[in-house]
């Protein structure tokens, strides 16, 4: 039997109304039981504390609270509703430096806009089938950033540089 999404609640955090509508339509098409929408990170934080969600699609550029700030809060705030929340950052920013920044605040998966049915389904499948272990160092808490061989992590071995 295929995945059954009817029992899960997913949050879409996106300020552009049309983009938000598209993401909601895509989630509804696969049968997601409940879709919660928020227009910025502040609204999202409030809503997810009231009703925890199973995963979230989060845009980067939003006002007043952007996506990176929201991800950082989810991973590190003591009153976070779920420090391990699977997060797909959906953004038009694809420059390497931006991808690294998203990864360094604890994004689980990165989905470049424009989205397609195929690419969104692939990222959701990653969350389900290949969840990352979480790593805590003195300066980072979030999904392991070195899971993918030859993946997006290209840089110094910072786990060796951080830590207690």
């Amino acid at each position: 039997m295929a995945y059954q999404f009817g029992k899960i609640r997913v949050m879409v955090v996106e300020d552009n109304p049309h983009m938000r509508k598209l993401l909601k339509a895509l989630l509804a098409a696969i049968g997601v039981g409940e879709i919660v929408e928020a227009t910025d990170g502040g609204v999202a934080w409030m809503l997810m504390k009231q009703n925890p969600v199973d995963f979230a699609l989060i845009d980067w550029e939003m006002y007043p609270v952007n996506g990176l700030t929201l991800v950082r809060k989810i991973r590190t705030e003591p009153d976070s509703p779920n420090h391990f929340l699977p997060i797909i950052m959906v953004t038009g920013y694809t420059e390497r430096e931006r991808v690294m920044r998203a990864r360094d605040v604890g994004v689980t998966e990165f989905l470049a806009k424009p989205v397609s049915a195929q690419t969104l389904a692939q990222r959701i499948e990653e969350l389900i089938e290949r969840p990352r272990p979480y790593v805590r160092t003195r300066e980072y808490f979030g999904p392991c950033r070195r899971r993918k061989k030859g993946g997006i992590y290209i840089g110094p071995e910072r786990r060796a540089e951080l830590g207690a």
């Binding site: 039997m1 295929a2 995945y3 059954q4 999404f5 029992k7 899960i8 552009n16 049309h18 983009m19 509508k21 598209l22 339509a25 895509l26 509804a28 098409a29 696969i30 049968g31 199973d54 995963f55 550029e61 391990f84 699977p86 953004t91 038009g92 420059e95 806009k113 424009p114 989205v115 397609s116 049915a117 195929q118 969104l120 389904a121 499948e125 969350l127 389900i128 089938e129 969840p131 272990p133 979480y134 790593v135 805590r136 160092t137 003195r138 392991c144 071995e157 786990r159 060796a160 540089e161 951080l162 830590g163 207690a164």
Partner: protein, 165 residues
Amino acid sequence: MTQGSAPGGKTFQVVNPPNLLKKKVGNGGFDPNAIKRMDGAIRELKGEFEEQAKAATAELSAATLALLRAPNDQMQRQTVYMIAHELRGQGGSYGYPLITRFGDQLCRYLDAAELLDAKALVVVKAAADAIAVVIANRVSGDGGETGRQLVGMLDQVVAQVKGEG
């Protein structure tokens, strides 16, 4: 939870939280029809996107003209950037990869340019115009000959400006 130490004696912890998502959705992967339904959802929103993109193009043209009049106006520059950023993020979803391409060129150009002099503004205007042509004429896919001409025109403008820089 496991603990380890990296070279230099610094420590880290690794936690493997339970996979609650998989517990809820089960096994078996995506229903083959799910992707078709998602594609159908995108098709249903295409007309709405085209209308919205048309309005966004008008805003982009107005913001670009305002920027031509006041090149140091950071607010106008940000307005141009954000409209192009939203368009590049959506065009490709609806079969308009050239909107994404030209929007991306415009954003990257603005990212790289410190000051907008007259030459730089020629690129901004050319990119905004190319996006407007794509939307007004619904130039989908690679756009055939029209698409090739637009791509060539914008690449040439960028190359000329860089060459003169």
